[in-house]
């Protein structure tokens, strides 16, 4: 795919294009929605709806960017194209942490416990399933299934022990929701800051991602501090996953769909993929959230955005498993 050198000018030009896409999608998502609010006689109501829509757009953007970046990082470092926070069980671990924190401690600490849950899961997956730093595709699938089943059971247990009104809240939150009447602006700012920091950090690590994807010894011999890179990347990816789960619940497959669509378009070079994945992940989830609100306009009820991404992501996952991934590994 690289037919010309990657220069700062080309890099910035591509970045600007991706940011423009995100801004365009975001603008559309603020303007459009379930109801027509463009009536001059009821400006107060219009303003309130616009504020909520702006909140949804910002939430979707930061969560989408965070999950897509985490997916890209896991795929690079585990050298497995199917690695993704949701599939790996990292989102489940974060979810359990968030639920435990909001039920028994304080909702304010939820992102911290989400991060702890995510990080513990990454540690377990890596300790149990990696061989020479690589996660074999089938091992990953099995490990993910088992870890997700475990967290599912733990979350059901916690839910069963909770009061009836909390049960409903937890069940709805677990579906992955963005549009809300209860905005948490400061949490959006925190997740946004983390996602932006992760994007900048990963942009600087992208050269190392490329080399580790080729092989650990190759990377090490080319001067990449592989162990430090792995630690920093796993902690960062866990951090943004935990924070975004605390904000919007476990939203699946964003971290799978975005990196793969962009790999098909841009090739495997992480230097180009990192900024693209951050902006495209944000745009995609903003668009998905807009879709839920437009569906609300048609059917009266907004489906949770996590349901939408899972319905699109499940078939996409099977497609990857059957075609792209199989074709490539068979050559090995």
């Amino acid at each position: 795919m690289n037919t010309r050198p990657l220069t700062p000018r080309r890099y910035l030009r591509a970045l600007a294009a991706w940011v423009l896409l995100l801004l365009a999608v975001s603008a559309a998502a603020v303007v459009l929605g379930a109801e027509n609010i463009w009536a001059w006689d009821a400006w107060d109501k219009t303003r309130d709806v616009l504020t909520l829509r702006l909140y949804s757009v910002l939430t979707a953007a930061v969560v989408g960017a965070a999950l897509a970046l985490a997916g890209l990082a896991f795929q690079a470092l585990l050298r497995n194209p199917l690695a993704e926070p949701y599939v790996l069980g990292v989102s489940g671990g974060a979810g359990l942490g968030v639920i435990l924190s909001s039920l028994y401690l304080t909702a304010v600490a939820a992102p911290v416990f989400g991060f702890v849950g995510a990080l513990v899961t990454v540690g377990v997956v890596y300790a149990v399933a990696q061989r020479r730093g690589r996660l074999e595709p089938y091992t990953l699938l099995l490990t993910g299934v088992i870890i997700n089943a475990f967290y599912g059971a733990a979350i059901m247990l916690v839910t069963a022990l909770a009061s009836p009104e909390r049960r409903g809240e937890i069940a709805y939150w677990m579906m992955g929701t963005i549009s809300t009447f209860d905005p948490k602006w400061s949490l959006v700012a925190v997740v946004g800051g983390l996602a932006l920091a992760a994007a900048v950090l990963f942009a600087f690590l992208a050269k190392g991602f490329n080399l580790v994807a080729v092989g650990e010894d190759t990377a090490g011999a080319l001067g990449v501090p592989v162990n430090r890179l792995r630690l920093v990347t796993f902690v960062t990816a866990s951090l943004v996953t935990g924070a975004s789960v605390a904000l919007a619940g476990p939203i699946g497959f964003v971290g799978l769909i975005c990196p793969h669509l962009l790999r098909m378009a841009l090739g495997p070079d992480h230097r180009r993929l990192v900024p693209a994945v951050a902006c495209f992940g944000a745009s995609l989830l903003v668009a998905a959230d807009l879709a839920t609100r437009l569906l609300e306009g048609i059917g009266g009820v907004a489906p949770p955005v996590g349901v939408l991404t899972a319905m699109a992501g499940g078939p996409f996952f099977i497609y990857l498993l059957r075609t792209r991934w199989r074709r490539k590994t068979e050559i090995r």
Partner: protein, 272 residues
């Protein structure tokens, strides 16, 4: 300090392992007090039975593994005294082939060899691209530039990986069994290329090999390792001898001389 950094054992040694010891699991040493030195501008082949520590030695020579005892010196300076990442500008390592099907093209793969020379964000100058193109040319792989690595044959791919090592512009190239999985034409193609890099460009090349005759045909020096120690080191004529090889490989061998090249070659003689 300056005097301490000077190499005490081999005057012309460019890359030297001094008394290396290492064990992956305690009590099962892979290397025991291994000492070997390679002079600049030589092609050296490391030989030895499976599991004798050849790959471990190679990984130590490029700093991927740190010995539990002993040290590696590059140009007289211990590896640990080099700033992080700077060894990669002087030593290139070609691991034993494992293909990661990531989808990088040959050109992208070779450009990765520029990574020790580029900045944090990995922007490439026209100089980097020139070095990559030049490396493709020297390995006769220009026509694969835009082809995906996994679409190439084993021999083509190995040449591209060697091109990546060349793009690093190193003084030393270490290769771990560069010709395993290759047919005889490509085996000789690779060793002929390594030979040219040594004689025409003054590179220092160390290759691990299982093929005694192939190594004897191309190398200036052979190093025979067994059970983590150097058993024999010297010219092919000094190392390729039945009394040296037979005990190490626990196989009777006959050594003959190739009348065309004058180099020795090995015929295994299994018990009847």
């Amino acid at each position: 300090m300056a005097t301490e950094n000077r190499n005490p054992i081999a005057g012309d040694a460019y890359l030297a392992a001094e008394g290396l010891a290492f064990a992956y699991t305690p009590g099962e040493p892979v290397l025991r007090n291994l000492t070997v030195a390679v002079a600049r501008g030589r092609l050296a082949c490391v030989l030895g039975p499976n599991g004798c520590g050849k790959t471990t030695l190679l990984r130590m020579l490029v700093g991927l593994l740190v010995p539990s005892r002993g040290r590696v010196r590059l140009a007289g300076t211990p590896l640990e005294a080099y700033p992080p990442g700077s060894i990669a500008r002087r030593v290139a390592y070609v691991p034993q082939e494992t293909l990661a099907a990531v989808g990088f093209t040959a050109l992208e793969t070779v450009l990765m060899g520029r990574s020790p020379h580029t900045g944090a964000l990995g922007f490439e100058s026209s100089g980097d691209w020139h070095a990559a193109r030049e490396a493709l040319r020297r390995t006769d792989t220009e026509r694969f530039a835009q082809r995906s690595l996994e679409d190439l044959s084993g021999g083509e791919r190995q040449r591209v990986i060697i091109a990546r090592a060349l793009a690093q512009e190193p003084d030393v190239i270490l290769l771990d069994e560069p010709t395993s999985f290759l047919d005889i034409r490509h085996q000789h193609g690779i060793y002929g290329l390594l030979r040219r890099l040594v004689t025409e460009e003054g590179k220092t090349v160390v290759a691990v090999s299982h093929d005694l005759s192939l190594a004897a045909a191309y190398a200036d020096r052979l190093v025979l390792i067994d059970e983590g120690r150097v058993v024999a080191a010297g010219t092919p004529d000094e190392v390729i001898r039945p009394e040296v090889l037979s005990p190490v490989y626990e196989t009777a061998v006959e050594v003959r001389t190739d009348e065309v090249t004058g180099r020795p070659y090995v015929l295994p003689r299994p018990p009847a």
